[in-house]
Protein backbone atom coordinates (compact mmCIF):
# COMPACT_ATOMS: atom_id res chain seq x y z
CA UNK A 1 0.00 0.00 0.00
CA UNK A 2 2.39 2.67 1.20
CA UNK A 3 5.96 1.98 0.22
CA UNK A 4 8.68 1.39 2.84
CA UNK A 5 6.69 3.28 5.38
CA UNK A 6 8.45 2.93 8.74
CA UNK A 7 10.45 6.14 8.44
CA UNK A 8 7.38 8.04 7.25
CA UNK A 9 5.59 6.94 10.41
CA UNK A 10 8.69 7.87 12.43
CA UNK A 11 8.59 11.34 10.89
CA UNK A 12 4.94 11.74 11.87
CA UNK A 13 5.54 10.57 15.43
CA UNK A 14 8.61 12.79 15.86
CA UNK A 15 6.78 15.84 14.56
CA UNK A 16 3.75 15.16 16.78
CA UNK A 17 6.20 15.00 19.70
CA UNK A 18 7.87 18.22 18.51
CA UNK A 19 4.59 20.10 18.17
CA UNK A 20 3.31 19.05 21.58
CA UNK A 21 6.33 18.77 23.85
CA UNK A 22 7.92 21.67 21.98
CA UNK A 23 5.28 23.90 23.57
CA UNK A 24 5.40 22.25 26.99
CA UNK A 25 9.15 21.99 27.59
CA UNK A 26 10.43 24.56 30.08
CA UNK A 27 12.73 27.12 28.46
CA UNK A 28 15.57 28.94 30.21
CA UNK A 29 15.58 32.71 30.52
CA UNK A 30 19.25 33.60 31.09
CA UNK A 31 20.11 37.17 31.98
CA UNK A 32 20.87 39.35 28.99
CA UNK A 33 19.19 37.04 26.48
CA UNK A 34 15.77 38.54 25.68
CA UNK A 35 14.52 35.51 23.78
CA UNK A 36 11.76 34.53 26.22
CA UNK A 37 9.37 32.02 24.65
CA UNK A 38 10.58 32.67 21.10
CA UNK A 39 13.44 30.26 21.71
CA UNK A 40 10.85 27.58 20.92
CA UNK A 41 11.33 28.60 17.28
CA UNK A 42 14.45 26.48 17.54
CA UNK A 43 12.19 23.45 17.02
CA UNK A 44 10.71 24.85 13.80
CA UNK A 45 13.09 27.38 12.22
CA UNK A 46 16.37 25.53 12.65
CA UNK A 47 15.15 22.14 11.27
CA UNK A 48 14.20 23.87 8.01
CA UNK A 49 17.91 24.55 7.40
CA UNK A 50 18.87 21.02 8.36
CA UNK A 51 16.27 19.68 5.91
CA UNK A 52 17.57 22.04 3.23
CA UNK A 53 21.18 20.97 3.71
CA UNK A 54 20.31 17.27 3.69
CA UNK A 55 18.37 17.72 0.44
CA UNK A 56 21.15 19.69 -1.23
CA UNK A 57 23.69 17.09 -0.12
CA UNK A 58 21.63 14.25 -1.61
CA UNK A 59 21.19 16.38 -4.72
CA UNK A 60 24.93 16.87 -5.27
CA UNK A 61 25.58 13.15 -4.68
CA UNK A 62 23.20 12.32 -7.52
CA UNK A 63 24.71 15.05 -9.72
CA UNK A 64 28.17 13.55 -9.24
CA UNK A 65 26.74 10.10 -9.95
CA UNK A 66 25.19 11.51 -13.11
CA UNK A 67 28.53 12.90 -14.24
CA UNK A 68 30.18 9.54 -13.64
CA UNK A 69 27.40 7.53 -15.26
CA UNK A 70 24.84 9.60 -17.18
CA UNK A 71 21.34 8.27 -16.58
CA UNK A 72 17.99 9.98 -16.50
CA UNK A 73 17.18 8.57 -13.05
CA UNK A 74 20.24 10.25 -11.48
CA UNK A 75 19.28 13.54 -13.07
CA UNK A 76 15.69 13.34 -11.79
CA UNK A 77 16.92 12.60 -8.26
CA UNK A 78 19.33 15.54 -8.34
CA UNK A 79 16.72 17.97 -9.66
CA UNK A 80 13.88 16.97 -7.33
CA UNK A 81 16.06 16.99 -4.22
CA UNK A 82 17.32 20.45 -5.17
CA UNK A 83 13.71 21.68 -5.56
CA UNK A 84 12.64 20.28 -2.18
CA UNK A 85 15.76 21.71 -0.55
CA UNK A 86 14.97 25.13 -1.98
CA UNK A 87 11.40 24.97 -0.68
CA UNK A 88 12.72 24.27 2.81
CA UNK A 89 15.35 26.98 2.45
CA UNK A 90 12.66 29.52 1.56
CA UNK A 91 10.62 28.34 4.55
CA UNK A 92 13.72 28.82 6.69
CA UNK A 93 14.12 32.36 5.42
CA UNK A 94 10.45 33.21 6.00
CA UNK A 95 10.34 31.73 9.50
CA UNK A 96 13.62 33.52 10.26
CA UNK A 97 12.19 36.83 9.06
CA UNK A 98 9.11 36.45 11.24
CA UNK A 99 11.29 35.68 14.22
CA UNK A 100 13.72 38.52 13.41
CA UNK A 101 10.87 41.00 13.10
CA UNK A 102 10.06 40.55 16.78
CA UNK A 103 13.54 39.73 18.06
CA UNK A 104 15.80 42.14 16.19
CA UNK A 105 13.15 44.76 15.35
CA UNK A 106 13.31 44.34 11.58
CA UNK A 107 12.42 41.46 9.31
CA UNK A 108 15.63 42.02 7.33
CA UNK A 109 18.52 43.68 9.05
CA UNK A 110 21.31 42.61 6.69
CA UNK A 111 22.65 40.09 9.17
CA UNK A 112 25.54 38.17 7.53
CA UNK A 113 23.76 34.90 8.00
CA UNK A 114 20.51 36.21 6.51
CA UNK A 115 22.36 37.63 3.51
CA UNK A 116 24.40 34.45 3.10
CA UNK A 117 21.32 32.23 3.16
CA UNK A 118 19.54 34.48 0.67
CA UNK A 119 22.54 34.40 -1.69
CA UNK A 120 22.77 30.62 -1.40
CA UNK A 121 19.10 30.21 -2.29
CA UNK A 122 19.48 32.63 -5.23
CA UNK A 123 22.36 30.48 -6.52
CA UNK A 124 20.00 27.50 -6.45
CA UNK A 125 17.32 29.54 -8.22
CA UNK A 126 19.88 30.08 -10.97
CA UNK A 127 20.18 26.27 -11.22
CA UNK A 128 16.49 26.03 -12.11
CA UNK A 129 16.73 28.97 -14.53
CA UNK A 130 19.70 27.29 -16.20
CA UNK A 131 17.85 23.99 -16.54
CA UNK A 132 14.73 25.69 -17.82
CA UNK A 133 16.65 27.61 -20.47
CA UNK A 134 18.07 24.51 -22.16
CA UNK A 135 15.93 22.56 -24.62
CA UNK A 136 18.11 19.54 -25.21
CA UNK A 137 17.48 16.97 -22.45
CA UNK A 138 20.97 15.50 -22.24
CA UNK A 139 22.62 18.92 -22.32
CA UNK A 140 20.20 20.15 -19.66
CA UNK A 141 21.09 17.24 -17.40
CA UNK A 142 24.86 17.52 -17.94
CA UNK A 143 25.20 21.29 -17.55
CA UNK A 144 22.73 21.19 -14.66
CA UNK A 145 24.84 18.56 -12.88
CA UNK A 146 28.03 20.60 -13.29
CA UNK A 147 26.27 23.75 -12.05
CA UNK A 148 24.76 21.86 -9.11
CA UNK A 149 28.26 20.90 -7.94
CA UNK A 150 29.26 24.57 -8.11
CA UNK A 151 26.11 25.66 -6.26
CA UNK A 152 26.75 23.20 -3.44
CA UNK A 153 30.26 24.51 -2.94
CA UNK A 154 28.91 28.06 -2.81
CA UNK A 155 26.25 27.08 -0.27
CA UNK A 156 28.69 26.21 2.49
CA UNK A 157 30.81 29.37 2.38
CA UNK A 158 27.58 31.38 2.29
CA UNK A 159 25.92 29.87 5.33
CA UNK A 160 28.78 28.35 7.33
CA UNK A 161 32.03 30.23 6.72
CA UNK A 162 31.28 33.86 5.82
CA UNK A 163 28.83 34.49 8.74
CA UNK A 164 31.55 33.32 11.16
CA UNK A 165 34.02 35.94 9.97
CA UNK A 166 31.95 38.91 11.13
CA UNK A 167 29.71 39.76 14.03
CA UNK A 168 26.23 38.39 13.57
CA UNK A 169 22.90 39.01 15.21
CA UNK A 170 22.56 35.25 15.32
CA UNK A 171 23.86 33.83 18.60
CA UNK A 172 27.58 33.23 18.60
CA UNK A 173 29.61 34.92 15.92
CA UNK A 174 33.19 36.02 16.15
CA UNK A 175 34.66 36.52 19.57
CA UNK A 176 31.73 35.23 21.58
CA UNK A 177 30.79 31.63 20.96
CA UNK A 178 32.13 30.84 17.53
CA UNK A 179 28.95 29.07 16.49
CA UNK A 180 26.63 31.48 14.69
CA UNK A 181 23.50 29.40 14.92
CA UNK A 182 23.07 27.95 18.35
CA UNK A 183 24.20 29.38 21.61
CA UNK A 184 24.80 26.67 24.21
CA UNK A 185 23.81 29.12 26.93
CA UNK A 186 20.31 29.55 25.50
CA UNK A 187 19.51 25.84 25.37
CA UNK A 188 19.16 23.17 27.99
CA UNK A 189 19.28 19.39 27.81
CA UNK A 190 15.48 19.33 27.94
CA UNK A 191 15.37 21.59 24.89
CA UNK A 192 17.91 19.45 23.06
CA UNK A 193 15.64 16.46 23.66
CA UNK A 194 13.12 18.25 21.41
CA UNK A 195 15.57 19.93 19.03
CA UNK A 196 17.25 16.78 17.68
CA UNK A 197 14.01 14.79 17.18
CA UNK A 198 12.57 17.91 15.53
CA UNK A 199 15.49 18.16 13.12
CA UNK A 200 15.21 14.46 12.28
CA UNK A 201 11.41 14.59 11.91
CA UNK A 202 11.39 17.62 9.61
CA UNK A 203 14.25 16.16 7.56
CA UNK A 204 12.38 12.89 7.10
CA UNK A 205 9.29 14.82 5.98
CA UNK A 206 11.48 16.74 3.55
CA UNK A 207 12.88 13.48 2.13
CA UNK A 208 9.37 12.02 1.90
CA UNK A 209 8.17 14.97 -0.19
CA UNK A 210 11.27 14.70 -2.40
CA UNK A 211 10.67 10.98 -3.01
CA UNK A 212 7.04 11.71 -3.96
CA UNK A 213 8.22 14.25 -6.54
CA UNK A 214 10.79 11.78 -7.88
CA UNK A 215 8.20 9.02 -8.24
CA UNK A 216 5.87 11.33 -10.17
CA UNK A 217 8.73 12.31 -12.50
CA UNK A 218 9.70 8.67 -13.04
CA UNK A 219 6.06 7.81 -13.84
CA UNK A 220 5.92 10.64 -16.35
CA UNK A 221 9.11 9.42 -18.01
CA UNK A 222 7.70 5.89 -18.20
CA UNK A 223 4.53 7.23 -19.78
CA UNK A 224 6.53 9.24 -22.35
CA UNK A 225 8.60 6.23 -23.36
CA UNK A 226 5.45 4.09 -23.76
CA UNK A 227 3.94 6.66 -26.07
Amino acid sequence: MIRKSWWKLLSFVLLLYTCTYGFLVPVPSPAGVPLQETIRNLFFHFPMWIGMMVCYTVSIVYSVRFLRKPSLVNDIYAKEYAITGTVFGVLGLITGMIWANYQWGKAWSGDPKQNGAAIAILIYFAYFVLRGSLQDESKKARIGAVYNVFAYFMLFPCIWILPRLTESLHPGGRGTEGNPGLNPKDTTNAMRSVMYPAALGWTLLCVWIATLRIRVQLLQEKKLTHE
Binding site: M1, I2, R3, L16, C19, F23, W208, L212, R215, L219
Partner: protein, 70 residues
Protein backbone atom coordinates in the same frame (compact mmCIF):
# COMPACT_ATOMS: atom_id res chain seq x y z
CA UNK B 1 -10.27 6.11 0.86
CA UNK B 2 -13.13 5.47 3.30
CA UNK B 3 -10.62 5.33 6.10
CA UNK B 4 -9.27 8.70 5.08
CA UNK B 5 -12.74 10.23 5.23
CA UNK B 6 -13.21 8.83 8.70
CA UNK B 7 -9.92 10.38 9.84
CA UNK B 8 -10.86 13.72 8.29
CA UNK B 9 -14.27 13.61 10.00
CA UNK B 10 -12.66 12.87 13.32
CA UNK B 11 -10.25 15.79 12.85
CA UNK B 12 -13.14 18.12 12.07
CA UNK B 13 -14.98 17.01 15.20
CA UNK B 14 -11.88 17.64 17.31
CA UNK B 15 -11.45 21.08 15.79
CA UNK B 16 -15.10 21.99 16.34
CA UNK B 17 -14.74 21.11 19.98
CA UNK B 18 -11.80 23.53 20.24
CA UNK B 19 -13.70 26.37 18.60
CA UNK B 20 -16.60 25.78 20.96
CA UNK B 21 -14.24 26.24 23.89
CA UNK B 22 -12.64 29.38 22.44
CA UNK B 23 -15.81 31.47 22.69
CA UNK B 24 -15.13 34.70 24.59
CA UNK B 25 -16.54 34.45 28.09
CA UNK B 26 -17.25 37.22 30.55
CA UNK B 27 -15.10 35.58 33.20
CA UNK B 28 -12.07 33.71 31.87
CA UNK B 29 -12.49 30.03 32.74
CA UNK B 30 -9.42 28.37 34.19
CA UNK B 31 -8.97 25.16 32.22
CA UNK B 32 -6.08 23.62 30.34
CA UNK B 33 -6.71 25.46 27.06
CA UNK B 34 -6.83 28.84 28.82
CA UNK B 35 -3.75 28.36 31.00
CA UNK B 36 -0.31 29.85 30.33
CA UNK B 37 -1.56 32.74 28.23
CA UNK B 38 -3.58 30.36 26.02
CA UNK B 39 -0.40 29.00 24.41
CA UNK B 40 -2.16 25.63 24.00
CA UNK B 41 -4.50 27.22 21.49
CA UNK B 42 -1.40 27.79 19.34
CA UNK B 43 -0.41 24.20 19.98
CA UNK B 44 -3.82 23.01 18.79
CA UNK B 45 -3.49 25.10 15.61
CA UNK B 46 0.00 23.77 14.90
CA UNK B 47 -1.16 20.20 15.50
CA UNK B 48 -4.13 20.68 13.17
CA UNK B 49 -1.81 21.97 10.42
CA UNK B 50 0.66 19.16 11.01
CA UNK B 51 -1.95 16.40 10.96
CA UNK B 52 -3.59 17.93 7.89
CA UNK B 53 -0.22 18.14 6.15
CA UNK B 54 0.54 14.51 6.91
CA UNK B 55 -2.90 13.34 5.72
CA UNK B 56 -2.25 15.22 2.48
CA UNK B 57 1.25 13.80 1.94
CA UNK B 58 0.00 10.31 2.86
CA UNK B 59 -2.85 10.47 0.37
CA UNK B 60 -0.44 11.69 -2.34
CA UNK B 61 1.83 8.76 -1.54
CA UNK B 62 -1.07 6.31 -1.89
CA UNK B 63 -2.18 7.83 -5.17
CA UNK B 64 1.33 7.61 -6.62
CA UNK B 65 1.64 4.02 -5.39
CA UNK B 66 -1.57 3.16 -7.21
CA UNK B 67 -0.29 4.79 -10.40
CA UNK B 68 2.96 2.87 -10.11
CA UNK B 69 1.07 -0.42 -9.88
CA UNK B 70 -1.21 0.18 -12.86
Amino acid sequence: MNNLKKIAGLMLAVLLCFTAQAQPASSEPVDFMHSNGRIYVVMAVVLAILIGLFIYVYSLDRKISKLEKS
